[in-house]
């Protein structure tokens, strides 16, 4: 899934990351010099604290620079800023401190705090909008199932089995030799439907399909079944390409799949693995519910 961040935010985030590393190293290596610059008396205790703050800065900086999703680390920086501001506030109240210098340092930290919050918020928003970007989505997921390819292929090839392990899929009905009708059930009685054509079917190896014109979702995909190395069963690999539809269908799909269609496909593969390896789908008292639910039994029997 393409999720290019806005270039301006990326640069700001990277800048803040390097700023963290630089400031942190300075705090760790030269706490005395730094203490003089910010108007703090250069005492052993202060040095120790400054070094500790430095370690924190470096950790946050490395987190921001090395993580694909740096938002939590930016929020960690905001928390650190709050700590810095509190400490500088204490310095301002301290007679020994050089209040003018400490005041300047406080203003500087406040400015950086504002940037941190701005960047963290922008990243959060970018993450929320991730699924709504209208561009073709390509999802590839894979799993190893400890059963021979022949068995996994034939289970999948019997399309009527698919609703057993594909979440939200209500039915797949054959409507001719190479065509089938698919229905997804959404909350509130909404349905998303399409006709698919089997483009290629290589026994025990590969199934390729494509939606036909007039479908609610325009998509194409393939699944392949390969003997896993070391005779460890079947390596199942799925690719789906689709154009996110707009309007009601688009928003219904977004509700069903969330921002991560890849996760849904991964979970479907996991369910298939459970069915073929154990004969049942792992269920907990919480997992049988949509959304979060406490881990305790349900009063009435739940329709699954």
């Amino acid at each position: 899934m393409a999720s290019e961040q806005n270039g301006g935010i990326s640069r700001l985030v990277a800048g803040l990351g390097w700023f963290s590393v630089g400031l942190g190293l300075t705090e760790m290596i030269a706490p005395g010099t730094l203490a003089r610059i910010i108007g703090l008396p250069d005492r052993g205790k202060n040095r120790a604290w400054t070094r500790f703050y430095g370690a924190r800065e470096v950790a946050a900086g490395i987190g921001i620079l090395s993580q694909s999703k740096p938002a939590p680390w930016l929020w960690a920086r905001v928390a650190g800023d709050a700590l810095d501001l509190a400490s500088l506030g204490k310095t301002l109240a301290n007679d020994e401190s050089n209040r003018w210098k400490a005041g300047l340092a406080t203003a500087a930290v406040a400015g950086v705090t504002a940037l941190d919050i701005l960047a963290a918020k922008a990243l959060n928003e970018a993450a929320e909008n991730d699924g709504a970007v209208v561009e073709d989505v390509r999802v590839v997921r894979t799993i190893i199932i400890d059963r021979p390819p022949e068995e996994v292929y034939s289970y999948w090839r019997n399309f009527e089995n698919l609703p057993r392990f594909m979440k939200h899929l209500e039915s797949v009905r054959s409507i001719g030799e190479h065509q089938s009708h698919w229905v997804i059930r959404a909350p509130g009685g909404k349905r998303i439907e399409w006709n698919a054509e089997l483009e290629h079917d290589e026994t025990n190896r590969r199934i390729v399909w494509r939606s036909l014109p007039g479908s609610d979702i325009d998509h194409a995909g393939w699944v392949q079944f390969e003997r896993a190395p070391g005779d460890r069963g079947t390596l199942v690999k799925v690719e789906v390409n689709y154009t996110p539809p707009g309007g009601v269908i688009g928003s219904t799909l977004a509700k069903l799949f969330g921002q991560t269609p890849g996760l849904l496909i991964q979970e479907n593969l996991r369910t298939l693995k459970q069915l073929l390896e154990t004969g049942e789908i792992a269920k907990s008292d919480a997992s049988i519910h949509e959304g979060m639910h406490p881990a305790q039994p349900e009063p009435e029997s739940v329709v699954l």
Partner: protein, 392 residues
């Protein structure tokens, strides 16, 4: 039924909740006769394990009587008396076939949550957060047991609940801690933490032929039990002596052949190291305080093994990798592969090699679970292990 529910940090309550039902063919329902509070429950109690929901039923050390079985369970029937392992395993996947039951690929419906935190997911666990599956736990009158044809082990009437209850977690856990050390004749084993798992790790190291076992803790009553009941040769109180110096002194400067961390993520220590990790943990810059683990690594002899059975949740800081690499250390760790150890350990109990009930200090009715948590957390009344009785 009555069940002990996690309602929030330091807040557990015995509530009336619906009875469990069979959801899958391989399920069984067990009427619980004995259930215990685990040290790892305190990590939940203290709010250190993410993905808890208000209302979650706690408890993963339980046993009882089978009252219902699903159509796929052929090896159990109504009336069987069983001990249930805390980790749920399917018995069919790649991991289970290699006896790595606690990293079963099929038993955790929320494995995706763990994948985000740990890279890959592990098995489902009873009563231990939603990322570990969201399974209702066993501090209750009844529990649903998935994959009941693989996990629960039948126990003979000749043994009491107290003797076999700890086959559900802490005895196999302590034993695996010692087993991972690959103990050779003449070996000295040091065990950090003399809680219930530490006690049983000490006893297991003894059973596996350790020449000498050294126990480390800060509570005199725990150190006493380690020496008098579990079989430690020497005990070290880390509040009164420098553990690494003392270990060096006892081993001619070489260090113990293997070190077992039976402490985990909420370690304590006198002085700066504790304050450093506690502050980082509070600022969410690390999730776990690895004080015992760092010490175990630095103390271990060159080429030795560090066995980690204390629970860790996420990320730690200042990990002495240079010491691990340059000194050829082996680190072994894991949630216990229960189904591998339960049967041989039941045989050991039957033979009289060990009676793990020596650690029980408190027996309470299930209704008093909240009081049990407080007593255990604050180590009041020399608390070592609390067993709850739903039927009382």
């Amino acid at each position: 039924m009555k069940a002990n529910c996690w309602m929030g940090k330091r807040d557990v309550r015995v509530e009336t909740v619906p009875d469990p039902k069979i959801l899958n063919p391989r399920d069984a329902i067990v009427k619980i006769t004995s259930t215990a509070i685990c040290g790892s429950d305190l990590h939940l109690y203290n709010g250190y394990i993410p993905s808890m929901e208000s209302g979650d039923i706690l408890g993963h050390e339980f046993m009882g009587e089978v009252v219902e079985v699903g159509s796929g369970v052929k090896n159990l029937q109504k009336g069987d008396r069983v001990v249930v392992p805390f980790a749920i395993a399917c018995g069919d996947c790649f991991m289970c076939k290699r006896q790595l039951y606690s990293v079963c690929e099929n038993s955790n419906p929320n494995a995706w949550m763990q994948e985000r935190l740990w890279g890959h997911g592990g098995a489902g666990l009873f009563g231990y957060s939603h990322m570990c599956g969201g399974y209702a736990g066993g501090q209750a009158e009844y529990a649903r047991v998935p994959f009941a044809d693989v996990g629960p082990i039948k126990v003979p009437e000749s043994l009491t609940d107290d003797q076999v209850l700890f086959l559900s977690d802490i005895f196999p856990t302590g034993y695996m801690g010692a087993d991972l050390c690959n103990i050779q004749p003449g070996d000295t084993i040091a065990v950090w933490g003399c809680g219930p798992v530490g006690q049983l790790a000490i006893a297991s190291a003894r059973m596996l032929g350790a020449e000498r076992v050294i126990a480390i803790d800060r509570f005199p009553y725990r150190l006493n039990m380690a020496k008098e009941k579990a079989g430690a040769d020497t005990v070290l109180n880390y509040e009164h002596e420098d553990v690494r110096d003392a270990l060096k002194e006892m081993t001619g400067g070489r260090g113990p052949d293997a070190c077992i961390d039976a402490v985990g993520m909420e370690a304590h220590a006198p002085g700066a190291a504790f304050l450093y990790d506690r502050a980082k943990q509070a600022a969410m810059l690390e999730t776990d305080r690895p004080i015992a683990l760092r010490q175990a690594i630095l103390a271990c002899r060159n080429g030795g093994t560090v066995s980690v059975i204390g629970v860790y949740g996420g990320f730690i800081d200042k990990f002495p990798m240079g010491s691990v690499m340059n000194r050829s250390l082996t680190i072994k760790a894991g949630q216990t592969h229960m189904q591998k150890y339960m049967r041989p350990l039941l045989e050991r109990i039957e033979r009289g090699d060990i009676d793990p009930s020596f650690i029980i200090t408190h027996r309470l009715p299930l209704e008093q679970a909240p009081q049990g948590f407080e007593t255990f957390l604050h180590k009041q009344q020399d608390c070592m292990k609390v067993v709850l009785k739903p039927a009382a």
